[in-house]
Symmetry: C2
């Protein structure tokens, strides 16, 4: 079955698969740096995304203490957990609501491993 | 209201907002080059995306005659129109099915123009 990569564009903010994955990494590792590393993301970029998310929402999504080389700790706030749950709920509902149409599209695709034939048309 | 940028990942193919916009441009301009230009995309990249789409589907989405500097013509095939309609249907259904959750997320956002306050937290 196909999967959906879904990005939500608000007036001034954006939330999508990358930020969701970063929040999950922070939840699972307790560290912004470690969460970023799992995604091949620089420490600086991971921090920037966290600061962007914390500024975009009324309540911060991540609570952290900036640490030295050993690293500070970080965890999701209640709002962070809520946002992550809402995002996954949105993706699940989107997929369920469009499964029929996605299935029709899928049936129109060149069968796997058959691209040479299609390109030869 | 928020909008959704939605990318569908199949086993070996991917279809999202960029390809949809390119197809719309081809439909509206009758030219792959002109459609690419509208999106600040190189001629080469626009052609590559069209070839990728034509190979991904059993029937090609775009019928074209490669032209000289004056350019050849291009138009959507019936399959191209079908794929575009299905994609927009998927986005509309996804948005409708998750409107409640998106609304909850939206209510959690820092009000527009209030980012300085949020960053000062």
């Amino acid at each position: 079955m196909a999967t959906l990569k879904l990005r939500i564009l608000f007036n001034e903010a954006m939330f999508g698969p990358g930020k969701a994955e970063l929040l999950e990494g922070i939840r699972d590792t307790g560290s912004i740096a470690a969460a970023g590393r799992q995604m091949q993301m620089s420490y600086k970029r991971a921090w920037m995304l966290v600061e962007e998310m914390n500024a975009a929402f009324i309540q911060p999504l991540v609570a952290s203490t900036r640490g030295g080389p050993g690293g500070g700790g970080a965890q999701l706030t209640e709002t962070g957990h809520d946002v992550l749950r809402l995002y996954h709920d949105i993706v699940d509902r989107a997929l369920a609501a469009s499964a029929g149409q996605i299935c029709i599209l899928e049936a129109m695709l060149t069968p796997p491993g058959n691209n040479d034939v299609a390109e030869g048309k």
